[in-house]
């Protein structure tokens, strides 16, 4: 097949799959939360309430798209798009199966970290441009939180890079043929998962939008499809972090019997459910606790993990 055509087909398939999955997550999250909290959840529209997503989307599209007169108009409009674009860009380096990847960059891992780092702007600027004190407070919290946790996210992954000897995500998956990195890199896995929660600012780390204190945090002033973009961006982030956990620590597409792509999807799905289960079960920490936990516990742990991994690799290899 024509390589350019093949690449375009891959891009379209990945975009469609990822966007559909994240929209479906809205329904999945509400159903699973209901299950764990002993209620029913949305079950009226279509079989099992599956059409709830469509109903929500129609509602969001037809809502008035209101820009507050005191907002910084151009920044206010571009901020939600920035968030979604950076997360979608990260999917470009995700290897779903051998050869099924949009761009097999040799610095794929760094590309993912770079896009995560840029994702902060969507939230920071959204909160700032709203010109609302609650939004600004939410944005400031989000910026500090995401900046700090990015550091440990990167450090936690360096152990994986040492073991695999490559920044290329396909190579990292291939290096786990004999042993998934979740065993030799267990501290790295734990730190990465915690940092992933903070990066996607999901509960228990959703302080930027803590509704009990900040109205809705950085997206207080957003409505209609712009709010929808923030919403979808969050679920895209959850999907991305779950996919990355699978790639770095659980052998990506590797697995017996089933086709590789199916293994990848199943593993990712398990971690997405984990994200939702943790939301249902953990309370929110205080903001200063969140930050001091990051710098006083996670940073030393990540550095220690890096030093020990490096030492062992040097001693053995």
């Amino acid at each position: 097949m024509n390589p350019i055509l093949r690449q375009i087909i891959i891009i379209v398939v990945v975009m469609a799959a990822v966007l559909t999955a994240s929209a479906g997550l809205i329904w999945l999250e509400r159903r699973l939360l209901a299950l764990w909290q002993d209620r029913r959840g949305p079950n009226r529209v279509g079989p099992f309430g599956l059409m709830q997503v469509t109903a929500d989307m129609i509602k969001i599209f037809f809502k008035e798209d209101w820009i507050p007169p005191f907002a910084d108009r151009p920044v206010f409009v571009i901020a939600p798009a920035l968030l979604v674009v950076t997360v979608l860009m990260s999917f470009a380096v995700v290897p779903f199966a051998p050869g099924f990847v949009v761009s097999d960059l040799n610095v794929g891992l760094l590309f993912f970290l770079a896009m995560t780092a840029l994702g902060v702007y969507g939230i920071a600027l959204g909160g700032w441009s709203s010109n609302n004190k609650y939004a600004l407070l939410g944005a400031i919290r989000a910026t500090a939180q995401m900046l700090s946790y990015e550091v440990f996210m990167g450090l936690a992954l360096m152990g994986v890079v040492i073991l695999a000897g490559s920044f290329n995500l396909s190579d990292i998956v291939e290096a786990q043929k004999n042993l998934w990195f979740c065993i030799p890199q267990f501290p790295g896995l734990v730190i990465f998962i915690i940092a992933g929660f903070a990066e996607t600012h999901r509960l228990p780390f959703d302080l930027p939008e803590a509704e009990s204190e900040l109205v809705a945090g950085f997206h207080s002033e957003y409505s209609g499809i712009k709010f929808g973009l923030f919403f979808v961006g969050e679920y895209l982030g959850v999907t991305l972090i779950s996919a990355m956990i699978v790639i770095f620590f659980f052998g990506g597409w590797l697995g017996p019997f089933l086709p590789p792509i199916l293994w990848f999807v199943i593993k990712t799905f398990v971690f997405i459910c984990g994200f939702i289960l943790l939301r249902a079960s953990l309370p929110r920490p205080r903001y200063d606790q969140l930050m001091s936990f990051a710098w006083k516990v996670l940073l030393p742990l990540a550095l220690l993990n890096l030093i020990i991994t490096g030492g062992i690799v040097l001693a053995v290899g």
């Binding site: 770079a114 600004l136 400031i140 900046l147």
Partner: protein, 172 residues
Amino acid sequence: MNVLFYIAAAVAVICTIMVITNYNAVHALLYLIVSLLSVALIFFLLGAPFAAALEVIVYAGAIMVLFVFVVMMLNPESQTIRSPKQLLHPWMWFGPAVPAAILLGELIYVLTAGSSTFPVNAGVGPHALSRTLFGPYVLGVELASILLMTGLVGAYHLARPEAFRAPEGDDR
């Protein structure tokens, strides 16, 4: 490749001009971020993907976020924006113009000397770059990290008494 390079370079130049002509601090910073991203793209096109990724992670992703963060917190009023306009008087440009002219001369020389003087598209991957950094240039890396450490200790020292004096629940 050449066309892509010139597009990225043009974006970088236009954005940098917008940075210094814009009176809105946050908008100026946004243009600076775009400018840094286009420089990262230029690195990538020149065959240095590792440098490109680091440019985005470190400059666009961390340092500029802190800039935006600070400007967001201070939120400059319209009077503070107007005052630099009054500060500028006609002879202000003379000092910076001399080094800028030297750089321009260098640029013209390099452009007229042709592309043979510097190798382009050699392709510097993460392995090669790391080997250079931690091989012959390890001393430079260590010196830079000592400098950063000094800055960190200094910042800690400067910030400490303030942090102890601030009462609980202050607008930190």
